[in-house]
């Protein structure tokens, strides 16, 4: 749920990166942090384990600037992908305005993608949300690896609704901003 403050003229929206463990959600957000100009970003907060796996979430505030008198911000979050962190994942979805599902393109991760997508829909349902109310875009990550599913296969299995989807190599930054731009625009259009 976006926050619109008419007195301080501020708008904040929450975008969540969702997907299976080791799929590249944190890599996306770290790339954005490294490339965006300093005056457009806040501190990157990572609640991670000692082995640098996301324990609770990563958080990055991005300032869009002053839009017709409103300071407009996006708050980017990642969820922990590992199956047993579902309680944490569900908490991060609270108040979500838009979701990027980061799928791992490797053939052996296909089942994990399907399970994670299903888990996302179930968690949204618990907040009485669904894909009609919350915009979603998909990112097919790790396109540079050798043993990957074709985009057609991924589309057929993960994206039957034909939502916007992007190929990415997040570790090199390929597709990262395209995906973020797409979801940000959907979130802005959905503001009401």
């Amino acid at each position: 749920m976006s926050l619109i403050n008419y007195a301080s003229r501020e708008i904040s929206c929450k975008i969540v990166y969702y997907g299976p463990g080791l799929g590249g959600k944190t890599t996306n957000i770290k790339y954005i942090y490294s490339k965006i100009s300093p005056n457009a970003k806040g501190n990157l907060i990572s609640l991670a384990t000692e082995l640098d796996r996301t324990l609770f979430f990563d958080f990055l505030p991005v300032n869009l600037g002053n839009i017709r008198g409103f300071k407009t911000r996006f708050h980017l979050y990642t969820v922990p992908g590992q199956v047993y962190y579902n309680a944490s994942r569900k908490l991060i979805l609270k108040g979500v305005d838009g979701i990027i599902f980061v799928a791992d393109s490797q053939v052996e991760r296909l089942e994990d993608n399907i399970d994670s997508l299903q888990n996302m829909l179930e968690n949204l349902q618990e907040y009485n949300l669904n894909l009609a109310s919350v915009p979603l875009v998909l990112q097919y990550n790790k396109r540079d690896l050798p043993n990957i599913s074709t985009v057609d296969e991924l589309e057929n299995i993960l994206n039957p609704q034909k939502l916007s989807s992007f190929e990415a190599v997040a570790v090199q930054g390929i597709g990262v901003f395209e995906t973020l731009k797409a979801i940000s625009k959907l979130v802005i259009r959905n503001l009401s």
Binding site: M1, S2, L3, I4, N5, Y6, A7, S8, I11, S12, K14, I36, A40, G42, N43, I45, L47, F56, F57, F59, P61, V62, L64, G65, I67, R68, G69, F70, T72, R73, H75, Y77, A87, S88, L91, I92, K94, G95, V96, F177, E178, L180, K181, S184, K185, I188, R189, L191, S192
Partner: protein, 162 residues
């Protein structure tokens, strides 16, 4: 649907939290929505990254609420974090927003606790009022967020994320 705060409500909230700040002699008082977005703050926040603080407070509260459920409680409405020099008192308001008081040894936990109870009643009424307004106006377009706003936002996005 957005959580919209209009001028009058905002100033009522600010009045209440400023009164709380003065009565408790706290360092700062912040009001945060449950999704982790800062609504407003008062007091000395010069040393505080309020955006990160808001996000972490909401996560802290959400995680503690799940802990409550695991031990058979509906939720924990109040949290207290004690440090060597500074402390946090966190209170849920109207099941919707989170009030955080940052304080040090210039005041006491007892005083903060008592004063927060008063402030909670006032804030409860204001937040309930806001929620009722949002429900009543839910079919209306948000003031100021017209097509021009959305167009300009999209062009800024193109610029920022190119």
């Amino acid at each position: 649907m957005s959580f919209q705060i209009f001028e009058n409500d905002f100033w009522s909230i600010n009045e209440t939290i400023t009164k709380l700040l003065k009565m408790t002699n706290a360092i700062s008082v912040l009001l945060i929505d449950k999704a982790g977005q800062l609504i407003t703050s008062t007091g000395d926040i010069s040393q505080l990254d309020t955006t990160a603080f808001a996000s972490l407070s909401a996560a802290d509260f959400a995680a503690t609420n799940q802990l409550a459920k695991l031990v058979g409680e509906k939720n924990f409405n109040t949290l207290f974090h004690q440090g060597e020099n500074k402390n946090l008192y966190v209170q849920l308001i109207a099941d919707k927003v989170i009030l955080v008081v940052v304080f040090d040894s210039r005041t006491s936990l007892g005083l903060v606790r008592v004063r927060i109870k008063h402030a909670t009643d006032e804030l409860n009424a204001i937040i309930q009022d806001i929620m009722n307004k949002i429900k009543t106006n839910k079919d209306e377009n948000v003031v100021g967020l017209d097509t021009d706003f959305k167009k300009q936002a999209e062009s800024e996005l193109d610029e920022l994320f190119k």
